[in-house]
Amino acid sequence: MGDKIWLPCPVLLLATLFSVLLPGAAGFTPSLDSDFTFTLPAGQKECFYQPMPLKASLEIEYQVLDGAGLDIDFHLASPEGRTLVFEQRKSDGVHTVETEDGDYMFCFDNTFSTISEKVIFFELILDNMGEQEHEQEDWKKYITGTDMLDMKLEDILESINSIKARLSKSGHIQTLLRAFEARDRNIQESNFDRVNFWSMVNLVVMVVVSAIQVYMLKSLFEDKRKSRT
């Protein structure tokens, strides 16, 4: 093994250069914030993993949007397997952790429910990830021409950056509001279905019960008549 180490070094170097110079060639660079909505069938558990560097911040927010009691078990584990968060039968939650290097695992557990499937929304917000915050500087390679206001350009760029940050925050809040609204809408639609269903059942039961009452009473008298004669 020892004598074979010298060969990979230049190859490794080439490979690293290759992956740095050609963005996209070595795989996609995922964004810092992501949200997903998925269906969790009854009696199942699904886990997701997020690789994190040291001293970054991971914020996870989840909500149950649809399905019977609108509750789910949530479990967050550190890369060593230590449980950081364990919540049972909650309908929404938000957790922030200061991260160590490694893969964080979080799981949604619907095993307590036998018939109802849940629709779960979760959002991951990653901060202080380091290398990925320089994407805007990378754009310098692709632009053509220069802007005329060289002195004031830095100020303009700074205000543009702050606008971008605020718009991102608006976008996040919108995502959250959308999840809340979806949940309320699902509740209402299930209410609507329930009202329809039970009204029909009620009507049928009422009619059947009154008919049974009348005919039972009648049948009592029929027998007595027959026994007399």
Binding site: L7, V11, L12, A15, T16, F18, S19, V20, P23, A26, G27, F28, T29, P30, S34, T37, F38, E46, C47, F48, Y49, P51, W139, K141, Y142, I143, T144, G145, D147, L153, I156, L157, I160, I163, K164, L167, S170, G171, Q174, L177, R178, E181, D184, R185, Q188, E189, N191, F192, V195, N196, S199, L203, M206, V207, S210, Q213, V214, K218, F221, R225
Partner: protein, 216 residues
């Protein structure tokens, strides 16, 4: 570990940062994206296979692909394609609502996969996050200021589209609530009326029955 693993690890140094999950052979994983109309969605995924002998995840799985299926809010299939072990799928929504993105592996060689797990790295970008700004800068020959302004404009446009869609959804929500409310009211009134009428009918019918049987 050895030489090949180190090499591939270096290659993947820039791309090991995304969310991933494990999927079984025949398992299907679906994600729902609620989006306004005319919004582009780009999904990127990368798969790794668990190697039982080496107890490690292999960086790539030649011959193993993923089938991606996208359904629009009405249930109609918008995209249904097979991709390799690493792929990128794009679609644009034409109706606002819940679009369902489903992934499942198309492993034909069951023996290779037997009892194994597949690790899938997934990233879904919606709307202006799906735009590739370096590409736009190169195509339209923009200066830095123009590029930044373009990005802000795209961001604002996306937020505005979401707001319009939110307004449409809220209207639907309000209609359903009001309809439910009305139905509850009318049903309670109808129930009371039916109960009274049934009671009257019962009494009348029994009375005429007893009279016919000469009991009263």
């Amino acid at each position: 570990m050895g030489r090949p693993a180190l090499l591939l690890l270096a290659l993947c140094a820039a791309c090991a940062r995304g969310l991933y999950f494990h999927i079984g052979e025949t398992e299907k994983r679906c994600f729902i994206e609620e989006i306004p109309d005319e919004t582009m969605v780009i999904g990127n995924y990368r798969t790794q296979m668990w190697d039982k002998q080496k107890e490690v995840f292999l960086p790539s799985t030649p011959g193993l692909g993923m089938h991606v299926e996208v359904k629009d809010p009405e249930g109609k299939v918008v995209l249904s394609r097979q991709y390799g072990s690493e792929g990128r799928f794009t679609f644009t929504s034409h109706t606002p609502g819940d679009h369902q993105i489903c992934l499942h592996s198309n492993s034909t060689r069951m023996a290779l996969f037997a009892g194994g797990r597949l690790r899938v790295h997934l990233d879904i970008q919606v709307g202006e996050h799906a735009n590739n700004y370096p590409e736009i800068a190169a195509k339209d020959k923009l200066t830095e200021l123009q590029l930044r302004a373009r990005q802000l404009l795209d961001q604002v446009e996306q937020i505005q589209k979401e707001q319009d869609y939110q307004r449409y959804r809220e209207e639907r929500f309000r209609l359903t609530s009001e309809s439910t409310n009305q139905r509850v009211l009318w049903w309670s009134i109808a129930q009371t009326v039916i109960l009274i009428l049934t009671g009257i009918w019962q009494m009348r019918h029994l009375k005429s029955f007893f009279e016919a049987k000469k009991l009263v």
